[in-house]
Each structure stands twice: as C-alpha cells, then as structure tokens.
Subunit: 337 residues, 2 copies
C-alpha cells in the first residue's frame, strides 16, 4: 500500500463496501455495463456514504479501451494453452493489443483473485482456456463486465466456444490408413472418461465399422507398450495399423513394435494425435499425426474476442475448427495428393 | 476506441506527444519515479499544451499499488518459464498479487508494445525470464518506472538476477557417478555456444580431471543416439557412465544403449539434466537427473520483486540457486543417504 494517502477513498473501497468487483463498481458509477438495478444502486450508495466522487478523469481512465486481453487457464503445463496464446497474440499484436496469461489452480477462491485482478486492469475481454474440452475452469466467469470467450475448455451454452474438430481429424487419420490398404486397424487411446476420447473413438468406428476395436488406457508411453503386448500376445491376426489417442501412446506403440522386431511402417502403420513436435519428430520413425491447429484456434479466438470487445455481434455456440493430418513416416504413404 | 468522447484529452495523448510511455507520463506528472529533468519537463509541457489536467482521482488511481506482477518471456514453448511462473504465483498469491505472463518474440518493437501495456496496467514490477541464461530479452528494460528482476535470463550488472547453479548441480551428478564406482565417465552435451553447456562441462572436468572427455552436439535425442554410436564404434574401453547435458540427450543415449544390448544401469550409468518429468519418467529405465529447481527460483523471484516493489533494499548481482540431483533408476545406487 506504499504511496497511498490514508484518507483517500478509492474505487476499491467503494467496491469492497458494495460487495462487488472493482470493474462492476466502475461500470455502476459510469452508468455503463449490465447489472441488476439493485447492484448499481448499492454501489452508488456506497460511493455516497464514503464520499467517493468519480470525476471526468476517473471516467476517462475507465472508459478507455485498455488494449489488453486476459487469457485464463488451468493448464499449468502449457501443453495446450501456449499454442493458443501464441495464436491469440499473433492475431492481436498488429492491433496494438497485448495478451496477459494468468494461470489458475483448482481453488475457486484463488481463481477469483486473478479474475478480479484482470478486471481491475480493465482488460477488454477474457479468453478462458484449459487442458480438456469437457471441463469448466474452476472459477465463475458469468456476469463479468467484459466479454468472455471459451477456447479449448467447456463454456456455458450462451457463450462463444471454440474447440478442435476431433471427430473430423480422427476420420481423416483413419481414412488415410484405409487408403493405404490397412484393414485390421485398432484404436489405442486414453481414459474413456474424456469427451475427446469418446469423440475420437466414435469417429474411428464411423470409418471402420461399429465392431472396430478400441483399447482405453492412459495418456502415456507405458500404455502404448502395454497395449502392443496385449494385442500381439493374444494370438490371431495381429493389427496392420494402430490409430493412437495421442503422440505419447503412439511413441510407446512404435518403440514396443520395434523391440518385437515388427517394422513400422512396413508391417504396421501408426498414427498419433496432437502433433506434439518434440514427441512426434523424435519417434523413430517420426509420427504421422493429427494436429489440432491450436494456434489457428487461438488466432480465431483473438479475432472474435476483439469483435466482442468492440460490440460486434457474434453468434454464440460451439465452433469446431478443423484438424489437419500431418504426414511423416510412421504410416508409409509419403505425401498426400 | 468505443466509448471515448472525441475531445477528451487522455494521459495516452500526453504520452504520445511527449514521446514517452504512459507510465513515464504518469510519473512525470505526479513528480514520482526517476527520469531526466528534461523528460519530465517535456511531459508537463505536452500536458499543458493539450489542456490535460491531472486531478486527485487520476493521481489516486496512479499511486495505488496494483497488486500485479508482469512476467515477460521469450520462451514461447514454456519449458523453462512455466515452472518459474508457477513459483512466482505461489509466492505471491497469498499477498493477493496476480502474475500476468506476456510472451515476446524476437521483434524489439513488438516487445515494447507489450512492456508498455504492462506499464500502463501499472504492474508493481516486472520479472524478465527466458530460455537461456546467457541471452538478453529482445527488449530494453532499462529505466522503467517499476523494478525489474531477471530470472533465468541475462540481466544487466546493476540488476538482481537469479539463475540456477548449474556447476553445483553438475558436480553433484558426476560425484554421484564416481561414488557408484564409475571411472570412465563421458559428458555428452549440447552446443558449445551455450553458457550453460560450458558451465556444466567445466564442472564435469573439475570432478573427473581436465582430460575428461566432452562431446558437444545438439539438444536432441538423435544426438544421444549418435554419440553412443561414436563412443562404442571407436573401440577401446567403452564408457561406464554418461553424464548428459539434458534429458532428451539422455533418453537418446539410454535407448541407443538398450538397442545395442548394453544394460542400463548394470553396465553403464546415465544421468540427465532438467528433470523434465515427461521425458525423465518415460525413459526406460527412468532417468536420474539434475533438477534446476525452477519453481523455487520463481518463488524467490516473487519474494524479491515484491520487496523491490515495496522499496526494500535488495543487493544487486547474480544469485545462483542450488540444483538438486533426483535419483531414479538409470544409474543404480538407489536412494542416497
């Protein structure tokens, strides 16, 4: 609190007494934003009681566009959020808009501290992002005084939500295997509690038929090894292709096959999911894999949050953005065309 | 710039005319901060020319501590910055302080946009971070109106800079190998243009002697494979231990040894560097590796930037924080005691 004179009433004090955020207090006093009349009245009463006098300068400071977008995420590893952030930044930097990332843990009270901090910094909008598309962030983002957009996390019905089209990406991958002549394709994937796992498995079966075999497990290399053990130890016709739920599983599968003396892609084709460069390119042979285009998803999020901040109409609902199959060497087939 | 009345003079306009940042203009008008007298005079002249009148409210808004710290980085992959950020957040959240991350690319002009955005949000301080300790961020952070601290990136002499003590971490790793009875230890590491590579190699030689063999290459699994090929194809006594410059190299080394039928750790011990969980734990056997304690480095950065923001005296200079050897199974030896 260095530098503040003791008796000066701040908007913070008004907000505190009224039990609202600083942003809401500002909007209430400026007769902007949407809120219950009772809330606006409570803020004005608190301001009057405290002797707070918003003046031209304060209003000017408040009414300016801030040229910052807040990005909230609980993906502390950054695996999904950082590509999204790169895309958002790319879309906005030419507009002079900066993106500030704030990571929140699973404690809603702490999450609220960060959201309030963003609002008090007068961000023009907030993009919520996460590590899976079927989970909400552990913080309430409804009724904020700025637009909120959801990118790679679950959002409420009335919001704009951007996700990757996992079904389309999965279909492309499996059709690619079919096009290469593979007929005994198995899907080795993550835990069946993930919506993305269900969606990818559904797309797999939509191509190979409802009898298509799916092995659910974990998102790990170890599971890839284990699945190969199961599939090759049970006898009968071994698979000639494995569509994996992510690149870590695919890497485990490829390593396990090599250690059994099975040639990839000569005898078995393997496809990953994520196009996690570090994992996909280091696999021997390098992985053909589905890229969710998270950077492009971020660019679209940036364009849309700016439109929302400027008051342009944006149709609410879920938008699925296309994935792209990235061809390397684990399937054979070379370049598509 | 929705919502702004056409003739209202903003601090932004004053800053623009004076050719300074918004933060500098604020400080100049409030007779706070440090800057050349000529700069302060130029700002005041611009304010007078434009008819800008800072008033009590504006000054109040400006003089408040903002309870936000800006984290600037050019580590767009997040490998090093996200653990630092987690530590900073952890140190500050109980103080009600939020951390905003802004990534900058290699364009200094764009970097300046983001720094100005942080300043105009009145962050209480800025932590600069990066992807290597011997490179500056591509943006000028001198003469800012808020304290700047450097964490895992190169800083100017008069600043507070936090780095990991790579030499100490490397010595511990190599002494661990020596303690296990290993006598033919080789160091396989990254490009010799990195200060961290030189420091780790120097520490390696300080333990095994100046004749200790160091193979410089790249930060990749492929280089680990290639180095094993070199070492085992040249004949003579093969190494009984390999100290690797990072976990990716170590993973390549372990895989290449296994494929040659050489038992890790039975015949050869392998140590990594980074303790990158995903890489270290998935290696077979899991890697014993040096952890740079980046999260603790972040915590210390958080504590120090807060002290600086509060005007507490902090001794400038480079502070090296200890690394820790994390024992898994790639060396043998089990738990230390």
């Amino acid at each position: 609190m260095a530098g503040r004179r003791a008796n000066q009433v701040r908007i913070y004090d008004v907000a505190k007494v009224a039990g609202v955020s600083i942003a809401t207090a500002s909007k209430a006093l400026n007769d902007t934003g949407r809120m219950a009349d009772a809330t606006r009245e409570r803020v004005k009463q608190a301001a009057a009681d405290l002797g707070f006098r918003p003046n031209a300068m304060a209003r000017a400071l408040i009414s300016q566009r801030s040229f910052t977008i807040g990005l909230l995420t609980n993906d502390t590893y950054g695996r999904f959020t950082l590509p999204v952030m790169a895309g958002v930044s790319e879309a906005l930097v030419d507009e002079g808009v900066s993106v500030f990332l704030c990571t929140i843990e699973d404690d809603p009270a702490l999450g609220k501290v960060h959201v309030d901090a963003m609002l008090s910094k007068q961000v023009d909008g907030i993009i919520a992002s996460g590590k899976r598309i079927d989970r909400r962030l552990p913080v309430d983002l409804s009724n904020l005084p700025v637009p909120v957009l959801y990118a790679f996390t679950d959002g409420p019905e009335e919001a704009v939500t951007l996700v990757s089209d996992d079904a389309q990406g999965s279909r492309e991958a499996v059709e690619w295997l079919v096009g290469l002549g593979r007929r005994r394709i198995v899907h080795v994937t993550g835990p069946d509690t993930f919506a993305s796992v269900q969606e990818r498995a559904g797309a797999f079966r939509s191509v190979v038929g409802t009898a298509g075999r799916v092995l659910f497990g974990s998102w790990s290399e170890a599971w890839g090894h284990e699945a190969v053990g199961q599939l090759w130890n049970e006898g009968g016709d071994a698979p000639d292709a494995i569509f994996c739920g992510n690149d870590q599983i695919a890497r485990g599968v490829v390593d396990a096959l090599r250690e059994r003396g099975i040639v990839v892609p000569g005898e078995v084709s393997v496809v990953g999911f994520d196009n996690w460069e570090l994992m996909a390119a280091a696999t021997r042979p390098p992985l053909t894999t589905v890229d969710m285009n998270l950077k492009e998803l971020g660019r679209e999020a940036g364009r849309l949050i700016l439109a929302l901040a400027e008051g342009a109409p944006v149709e609410p609902g879920i938008r699925k953005l296309p994935c792209q199959l990235v061809i390397r060497q684990s399937c054979g087939g070379g370049l598509r065309g």
